[in-house]
C-alpha cells in the first residue's frame, strides 16, 4: 500500500504526527473485594445479598444498586460451588498481542445452586465444545491449596477468578430444565 501521508521532503507541511502515550493506574482493593479474595484463597465463594430484593452480588461490591442500600459483612453469604450453565459463547481466538489461546474455547455463564449468584465468563474444563449446553450441571475446580493466587483480583476483575477457581467441570447429573433459569440467562 502506498503511504500517502508521509513525506521526507523537509519543505512539505506536516500532515500527520505520531504520539505514543501510556497511562499507569494502581487501584486499591475495596473492603468487600478484599474479603472475597481471602475467601477464594480458602477455596470458597462469598457474595453479598440484598436484604430487600434478595439479589446476590458476586463478587460483593458493597451495595445493592436496585434498592440503593449499602451492604457490608452482615450481608455476606457463602455460595455453592456447583451450578448450571445458563448460556455460553464459543470464542475463536484472534492472535492479538497477549492472546494465549490458539483453539476455539468456551466461556459460560453459571447460575450457582441456592442461595444463587451468577458467575460469567467461566471456562468449562475437559469438555468438547459441542457438548456444552444450557442446563448442563457443573462443579467448580479449584486450584490446589498453596497453588492459588488472587493477584489479578481487584475491584474491576469481576468474575475472572482463574488464579484460584480454574473453571467448571460437568458432573454428569441430569440437565436442569430451561424454565427454571430462563429469567437468569446472561
Amino acid at each position: 500500500m502506498t503511504d500517502t501521508t508521509t513525506s521526507t521532503d523537509p519543505n512539505e507541511p506536516v500532515t500527520m504526527m505520531e504520539y505514543f502515550m501510556s497511562l499507569a493506574y494502581s487501584d486499591i482493593v475495596s473492603a468487600p473485594v478484599m474479603r472475597f479474595r481471602d475467601a477464594l484463597m480458602d477455596g470458597r465463594l462469598i457474595a453479598q445479598q440484598c436484604p430487600k430484593c434478595k439479589l446476590v452480588y458476586v463478587p460483593p461490591k458493597g451495595y445493592c444498586p436496585i434498592d440503593t442500600i449499602e451492604l457490608d459483612e452482615r450481608n455476606e453469604i457463602q455460595l455453592a460451588d456447583a451450578g448450571t450453565v445458563t448460556n455460553y459463547t464459543v470464542v475463536t481466538p484472534v492472535q492479538y498481542y497477549g492472546q494465549k489461546e490458539t483453539e476455539p474455547f468456551v466461556r459460560a455463564s453459571i447460575l450457582l445452586d441456592p442461595p444463587g449468584g451468577m458467575l460469567i465468563l467461566q471456562d468449562i474444563l475437559d469438555t468438547p465444545i459441542d457438548e456444552v449446553r444450557p442446563g448442563m450441571r457443573v462443579k467448580a475446580v479449584w486450584a490446589k491449596k498453596g497453588k492459588r493466587n488472587v493477584d489479578e483480583i481487584g475491584n474491576r476483575s469481576g468474575s475472572a477468578l482463574e488464579g484460584s477457581l480454574l473453571g467448571f467441570k460437568p458432573t454428569g447429573e441430569p440437565d436442569t430444565p430451561a424454565e427454571s433459569f430462563s429469567d437468569k440467562v446472561w
Binding site: M17, Y19, M21, L23, A24, Y25, S26, D27, I28, V29, S30, A31, K61, G62, Y63, P65, I66, D67, T68, E70, N155, R156
Partner: protein, 356 residues
C-alpha cells in the same frame, strides 16, 4: 424582537459531600452512596420523585471505561430514570439541571460530581485534555502551567509569594472546621516561605492536594422548594464562559471569562458576604477576586477551598454546596460559588445564591 421569558427561580434544598481522602479504599460508587443518600435526606425529596439526574465525572481519572455509567448505581436507576452526564465538574451538571428545570415539567433534580484521582498520575493524565498537536506532546501538566501563571502574576506585581503563603495558611486554618477537608492545620507563613520550590515559583503549600471525593446537590423549583424547605438557597444568577484553549493566547494575570460570567450572574448587583472560589492554586485567588469585583470585606473560602481538598470533578460543585450552606446554615443572605475547568482558569462558572 421577541420578549425574553424570565428565568424561573430554582433553589438548592439539599447538599452533601464525601470526606476528601488522598486514597479512598472505597470505590467511587461506594463513596457516592452515602453522599447522595445524605443530600436526598436533607431535601426531603423521595428518591423516586426526582425528575432528573445529572452527573459530572471523568473516566480518565480512575482509568475505567464507562465509570460514569457505573456511578449511576449509587443513584438508583431501576426502573429507568431520566439522567444525563457531563465530562466536566459537577458544577456544569448543576447548570444542565438548572436549564432542565426551566422547562417547568419537572420539580426536582439530583446533581452530583465525583472523582477518584488516586489511582492515576495527574501529571500524565492532564496533558491529554490539551490540544493533541502542540500541547499534549509537550506533556504540559497543571502544576507547570500554574507556575507559569504565578510567575506572570509575580512579574506584573499583582501578587507576592508571601501573599500566596498567607492564602494557603488561611485556607488550611479555616479548613480545620470543615469535616470534609483533607489538608488542615496552623501553618507559619515564614516557615512556609522557607520551604523549597516544587515548580518555581510554587511551593507545596501553593498546590492543592490530590483528593478522592464527591458532592451531591438537590435542586427544586420555587413551588416545591417552599413546600419542603424552611430556608432554600435561591439560585439568582448562573453563567459560565470559556476562553481560548491555547494558554499563549490569553493574559494569564486576569480571568476575563470569570469576569463576564460574574457580570451575567449579577455578582455586583448587591453586596456578597461569602465567596467559595475554585482557586485551585494559591495565586488564583486574587485573580478571581479581582474578576468578580470582590472586596476585602468578602469572606473567601471559609471551608478551606480547593487548597484543603481538591476532589477533581466534584470540587466546583462543592464550592456551590458550601456557598449554599452559608445561606441555609450560616444565616447569610448573598453568597457566590465558583467553579473552573481547564488549565489556568480557562473556563469558569459563577453561581449567585440568595436567602429569603
Amino acid at each position: 424582537m421577541a420578549a425574553v421569558k424570565p428565568l424561573k427561580d430554582i433553589a438548592i434544598i439539599g447538599y452533601a459531600q464525601a470526606r476528601n481522602e488522598r486514597q479512598a479504599q472505597a470505590t467511587e460508587v461506594q463513596f457516592l452512596f452515602p453522599v447522595i443518600n445524605e443530600a436526598l435526606e436533607m431535601s426531603k425529596i423521595p428518591r423516586r420523585e426526582l425528575g432528573f439526574t445529572c452527573a459530572g465525572s471523568c473516566d480518565y481519572l480512575s482509568g475505567q471505561t464507562f465509570a460514569f455509567v457505573m456511578n449511576l448505581e449509587a443513584v438508583g436507576a431501576w426502573p429507568p430514570i431520566s439522567e444525563s452526564h457531563v465530562e466536566m465538574d459537577g458544577a456544569w451538571a448543576l447548570y444542565e439541571a438548572w436549564v432542565r428545570l426551566q422547562h417547568e415539567d419537572i420539580e426536582t433534580a439530583l446533581v452530583f460530581g465525583s472523582g477518584k484521582s488516586s489511582p492515576g498520575k495527574p501529571a500524565e493524565i492532564y496533558p491529554l485534555q490539551m490540544d493533541p498537536y502542540t500541547l499534549t506532546p509537550l506533556g504540559i501538566d497543571p502544576v507547570s502551567m500554574a507556575a507559569i501563571q504565578a510567575r506572570a502574576l509575580l512579574d506584573a506585581g499583582k501578587v507576592t509569594e508571601r501573599q500566596m503563603a498567607e492564602i494557603a495558611a488561611r485556607s488550611r486554618r479555616d479548613a480545620m472546621k470543615n469535616p470534609h477537608a483533607q489538608v488542615t492545620g496552623e501553618f507559619d507563613v515564614d516557615e512556609l516561605l522557607a520551604q523549597p520550590y516544587v515548580n518555581a515559583p510554587l511551593r507545596t503549600h501553593d498546590l492543592p492536594p490530590i483528593s478522592d471525593g464527591a458532592t451531591a446537590v438537590i435542586l427544586a423549583t420555587a413551588e416545591k422548594a417552599r413546600q419542603v424547605c424552611e430556608r432554600p438557597a435561591w439560585i439568582r444568577g448562573l453563567d459560565h464562559r470559556i476562553e481560548a484553549h491555547q494558554p499563549g493566547m490569553r493574559d494569564l494575570t486576569v480571568s476575563t471569562s470569570t469576569k463576564l460570567a460574574g457580570q451575567a450572574a449579577g455578582v455586583g448587583d448587591a453586596p456578597i458576604e461569602v465567596a467559595e472560589l475554585s482557586a485551585t492554586f494559591s495565586h488564583q485567588e486574587p485573580v478571581l477576586k479581582e474578576a468578580l469585583g470582590l472586596g476585602d470585606d468578602v469572606a473567601i473560602n471559609p471551608s478551606g477551598g480547593p487548597l484543603a481538598g481538591n476532589p477533581v470533578m466534584a470540587v466546583g460543585l462543592a464550592r456551590i454546596a458550601e456557598a449554599a450552606k452559608q445561606i441555609v446554615e450560616g444565616g447569610h443572605t448573598r453568597t457566590v460559588g465558583h467553579a473552573t475547568s481547564g488549565m489556568c482558569l480557562q473556563q469558569n462558572l459563577v453561581c449567585v445564591l440568595e436567602g429569603d
